[in-house]
Symmetry: C2
Subunit: 385 residues, 2 copies
């Protein structure tokens, strides 16, 4: 079950009264044996207080526990917000018998509202009492906001397990790290190795998805490794399992994207470079015109060309030659050799696949995005600060 | 009346049968005295055939006439598309007694569909017979697609006039030039001067608006100057009149943006540089979360901070320090000195003004954008290739 699938991790999720709905809103994850960890944080210049505090802690110590609250993001809350994040970590550390800098804190929810610290501290006391090796599901349920359900993934390698949980449905756009994600493993890693495994996995999964092109102030992906499996080293297998967990969580975030009715799978091949391929895939995946067309089940390749042609590149725009470009919707070529093929595929499914081959080089990239629907507008027009 | 407000210009607009609706869809503008001209074109790597042909013509000669068709964009149409654009210019040139390279051609409408050249040529014959000094309104009406009505602006200086027409409601985002715009003036200019006046006016007007963040394949802004006023030189007055016409046409494009119910006026002051100010203003003006909040009349400054903090800048992100930043909605400060002020303004109007002062330097920029409404989604989910 998510973060407790790997050996030696306990977790819990409780209702601390932070969310007005009364739903579970405080999660705690802890490694029983000593763990090592790494994290990737939002690159937004406006960073939430828990991000600031957790970064400081991660620089000073190896993380043994993570406290996450939903309902209030504790972002743009000034000096009080930072004091509240410190109080949260201190409270959890005292209850868990850890130095405060071995606790990471994450928050998600409304920006600008103050954290109700008393409720958080009372919630932490309850969560500590609830910690169990079966608590991964409860933890994953307690970190949600507009999500329709928990996002979990588990992958196993020879003798070890990688498990993770994620939350995120809006303000989703790659900025090195996206959303709140906690991944645990009992695979044996040294402290200095964790980042080197986490970074490439995140780069090709969480950094290749978009719901609305907006980069949150609170995004974080945390990996804890405690070696409790007793398994031997098989780094390729671990890398594959970690990628698998990241990719499955990332896909769940898109599928649960605010108002999502169609998942766009954008694949770019034959670009002049990987940088160009990523830029073109991202530009297509974030274009409101492409996303509304997907919502309308319209194989509107003209909008795909428009987006591809305006993707930023090294010298202003990514390299593109319409004479060498082919575009396909759900495997049906619609544009080739500078002109329409005349084929009009029928798009009816919950997935819309858009493939571009630029015919220029070896650069390739894949991207996942939600469509842009009436419900996206409704959710975000009604959701108040 | 738009492009015929200045002396010495005639125009017309006719229904050539290109748009299935039977609405007017072909416009012709011509200077009677010899004119000089300049233009700014879309920077999208995918450029429509009429853009390619018009660029070539503008390099070879001074433009005397512009033919514009609506309904079909003649973009991504391969070699046939270019031949069709050439045939359009040739047909107009023959009817007007001009060399072909003195005619510019523009198209707007569906991408990927072939231009019905026979209808275009018949339309040109009718349009030439209709040319008149009162034809500016008819021309402005014949270049529309999803626009709700024509966009016109006229400004006068000492002894001269500047008039223009524009079309554009979707796929609107600054890429040096945006939408189709034709501006005429009877102010006396030499050929080599036109571009130097046009470029800064466009940079601060059409390049500072966004409907959907999507940059079209067909955008163009053309300025024709024929000196027919007989006025003396007053470059400051001309610059002001040209800016005025550009700014008023740009605002009309946003007000008529697809599904627009609220115009966002974003103003950034105190940025470290003008580049940063433009990047931050643009990022706010194109954020789906800010735009849906505007649609919901929600003074959601958290989303404004999120957007500002992720604006691209010289070293990754534009410079920003939340401790020095103030944000106001409709003049009411909502965030200052790193924390919320506690004020919650009521937003009810058709305009939502968002002011940021970064407190870092002298960089300033203004940006106009439409909100993101149900109707935006409806229009773009239903509008088929």
């Amino acid at each position: 079950m998510s973060v407790t699938a790997a050996k030696g991790f306990v977790a819990s999720g409780v209702a601390a009264g932070i969310r007005p709905s009364g739903k579970p809103d405080l999660a705690l994850v802890r490694s029983i044996p000593r763990a090592v960890g790494a994290a990737m944080w939002t690159t937004n210049r406006v960073q939430a207080a828990p991000i600031t505090v957790s970064k400081r802690h991660l620089e000073a110590a190896q993380p043994q526990a993570v406290v996450i609250n939903a309902g209030v993001a504790n972002a743009a809350t000034g000096a009080r917000g930072e004091a509240d994040a410190v109080a949260t970590a201190d409270g959890a550390a005292a209850q868990l018998g850890l130095p405060p800098d071995e606790v990471l804190v994450l928050s998600t929810g409304v920006i600008g509202a103050p954290l109700p610290v008393d409720k958080v501290l009372a919630g932490i006391r309850a969560a500590v009492l609830d910690l169990s090796p079966e608590g991964g599901g409860a933890a994953a349920g307690a970190i949600l906001t507009t999500d329709s359900g928990p996002k979990l993934a588990v992958a196993a390698g020879p003798g070890f397990t990688v498990g993770g949980m994620a939350k995120g449905a809006g303000m989703i756009h790659p900025c090195l790290a996206t959303m709140l994600v906690v991944i645990t493993t009992d695979y044996p890693l040294r402290a200095e190795e964790v980042d080197g495994f986490l970074r490439p996995a995140v780069e090709r999964t969480f950094n290749r998805i978009s719901v609305d092109g907006d980069c949150s102030t609170n995004d974080a992906v945390i990996l804890l490794a405690n070696g409790a499996s007793g398994a031997g080293r098989d780094d390729d297998a671990f890398r594959a399992a970690l990628h698998d967990v990241c990719a499955r969580l990332a896909r769940q975030v898109v599928e649960d994207g605010e108002g999502c009715t169609v998942v766009l799978e954008v694949r770019v091949d034959g670009a002049a470079s990987e940088t160009d391929a990523v830029a073109i895939a991202r530009r297509i995946a974030t274009s409101p015109l492409v996303k509304t067309a997907a919502f309308g089940h319209d194989p509107n390749w003209g909008r795909v060309l428009m987006a591809a042609g305006s993707a930023p590149g090294a010298d202003g725009f990514a390299a593109l030659d319409t004479e060498r470009l082919t575009v396909a919707f759900d495997g049906v070529p619609v544009f080739a050799a500078g002109a329409p093929t005349g084929d009009v595929p029928t798009l009816a499914g919950a997935v819309c696949r858009i493939d571009l081959d630029l015919g220029l080089g070896d650069g390739a990239a894949a991207y996942l995005a939600s469509d842009l629907s009436y419900d996206y507008v409704r959710i975000n027009a009604e959701y108040t600060t």
